[in-house]
């Protein structure tokens, strides 16, 4: 393999501005008072050194070197002998543009250093993450059990949604079985948060799916795996996981006896 493949990226300096700042710092003078011609010489020496060490010199460094050479060449001539390019009498002093860029870059470099300090500081700051508060309700829980009739009237409301558009429709294969819906329901109530009755049917797309979901709900109530509550009269019915006492629930997921494909 040719040696050229082993070129090392020169990463000590982020870029030409970084190298310039370093050189200015070495001079121990204010950026505004720096002798740019001297810096220019040093900058080019560094680039030469990088080349000698067979380090890859990024294009940005070369561009900066040429800017510096231009500045240096200008300064070698007294002002009155400098070539005035037609129409460019108001030309910006190239030194000024460079110094402005350096000052600006320096400020952001300092800001980056402050961010870095904060970053390290944050590693030592721990937020308080309390456990979830579990209050025992002072009064008996306002959780009147929901009767079967409440449930049926609730589901009939859901079914009304489908009645209107059900007159004419394509026939799909019914995708859901009760046992699948039971699994889904179990997953949905796995957390501590209650599930709203209406939320149960948000995704349903057909009457049959509503019915299958409802049957799954009834089955889980029968197995005492879920409880169905109505916190206050006329409010929405909520479905919760049953308190973990049901010993029958242990083991493999329940399979209904005849696994009816609903019709």
């Amino acid at each position: 393999m040719p040696m050229a493949e082993y070129k090392v990226q020169f990463e000590v300096f982020e870029g030409p501005l970084d190298l310039l700042l370093y050189l200015v710092k070495k001079e121990e003078v204010d950026i505004y008072e720096v002798n740019l011609t001297k810096i220019a010489t040093q900058f080019i020496e560094y680039i030469e050194l990088m080349r000698e060490l067979d380090l890859e010199v990024a294009g940005e460094f070369v561009v900066m070197a040429s800017t510096l050479m231009y500045i240096k060449s200008r300064e070698l001539l007294p002002v009155d002998q400098q070539a005035q390019i037609e129409g460019e009498e108001e030309e910006e002093d190239p030194r000024w543009e460079l110094i402005r860029q350096l000052v600006e870059y320096k400020k952001f470099k300092d800001a980056a250093a402050q961010l870095q300090t904060r970053e390290a500081e944050q590693e030592n700051i721990f937020p308080r993450l309390p456990a979830r508060l579990e209050f025992e309700p002072a009064t008996p829980p306002p959780r009147p059990e929901v009767s079967l009739f409440d449930l049926i009237s609730a589901v009939s409301n859901v079914l009304k949604r489908f009645q209107l558009k059900d007159d004419a429709r394509d026939i799909f294969e019914d995708k859901w079985t009760v046992s699948e819906k039971i699994e889904r329901l179990r997953q949905a109530i796995a957390g501590d948060a209650p599930l709203k009755f209406s939320g149960l049917f948000e995704q349903t797309t057909s009457r049959t799916e509503v019915v299958v979901t409802f049957l799954a709900l009834l089955e889980l109530i029968r197995l005492k795996q879920i409880v169905v509550l109505q916190p206050t009269p006329f409010s929405e019915i909520e479905i919760r996981r049953a308190p973990a006492v049901a010993p029958a629930a242990a083991g493999s997921p329940y399979e209904p006896p005849n696994n009816p494909k609903s019709t």
Partner: protein, 227 residues
């Protein structure tokens, strides 16, 4: 019952940082569900009063010199430990799961975006003097910056800004809290009256000659001017 102490109890028990809006919700919710005469008065707390109470609470904790303090990060309030106690907390909970620290180029670019947002890649490169492609990808992946729009210049390039995760990552309340925010947002780099850069011994004119005749500065003597 004092508002700030109510807020303290809520923030002490909260499982996530809470914004003033969330705190107000807690207050009004509590008032709705309680018959207690001491709870009702806090049903509707003015945002200003709430903020004042939060600030006062944070100050109280600071003055008390506890091992923890109340901070506002990205607009939400939470209790955090003081950094001095990190050795013990690390022993307790283990090192925090934190992504690797950002590299120097990433921090520089992030600083530029934070102060100058929204801005384009070209504007960032203008300041840094080098390409930002690599670091921009890192910052994107870390969720610290996002695209926010397009600049109304030729080519309509994307403009970028920092995210609220950026504030969280650095523990900042808002962008206003960035150090020297006013100064860096639009750096008006003052042009000195003259640039003293001429190396002695070169065949050059003395420094004043290079002063740009903009007025204000000491006018150069006429001896070198074209007459």
């Amino acid at each position: 019952m004092e508002l700030k102490l109510i807020l303290e109890s809520v923030l002490f028990s909260a499982q996530k940082p809470l914004s003033p809006a969330e705190l107000r919700n807690v207050l009004s919710e509590a008032a709705e569900h309680s018959e207690d005469g001491t709870v009702k008065p806090f049903r509707k707390v003015k945002p200003d009063d709430l903020n004042a109470a939060l600030e006062q609470l944070a100050k109280d904790h600071e003055l008390a010199q506890r091992s923890y303090r109340l901070v506002c990060v990205a607009g939400s309030w939470q209790f955090v430990s003081q950094p001095e106690y990190a050795p013990w907390l690390k022993a307790l909970v283990g090192e925090k799961m934190r992504p690797t620290r950002l590299s120097q180029p990433a921090l520089e670019t992030l600083a530029i975006i934070a102060y100058r947002q929204p801005l384009t890649r070209a504007e960032m490169e203008q300041i840094r003097g080098v390409s930002v492609d690599g670091v921009m990808q890192t910052l994107h992946e870390r969720g610290l910056i996002e695209q926010v729009g397009r600049a109304e210049v030729a080519g309509r390039p994307m403009t970028y800004a920092t995210t609220s995760l950026f504030l969280e990552y650095f523990g900042l309340r808002s962008l206003e809290e960035l150090p020297a925010a006013d100064e860096l947002r639009r750096i008006p780099v003052q042009k000195p009256e003259s640039l003293l850069t001429v190396e002695p011994g070169l065949a050059t004119a003395p420094p004043e000659q290079l002063a740009l005749s903009e007025g204000g500065g000491p006018k150069p003597e006429g001896n070198h001017q074209e007459t």
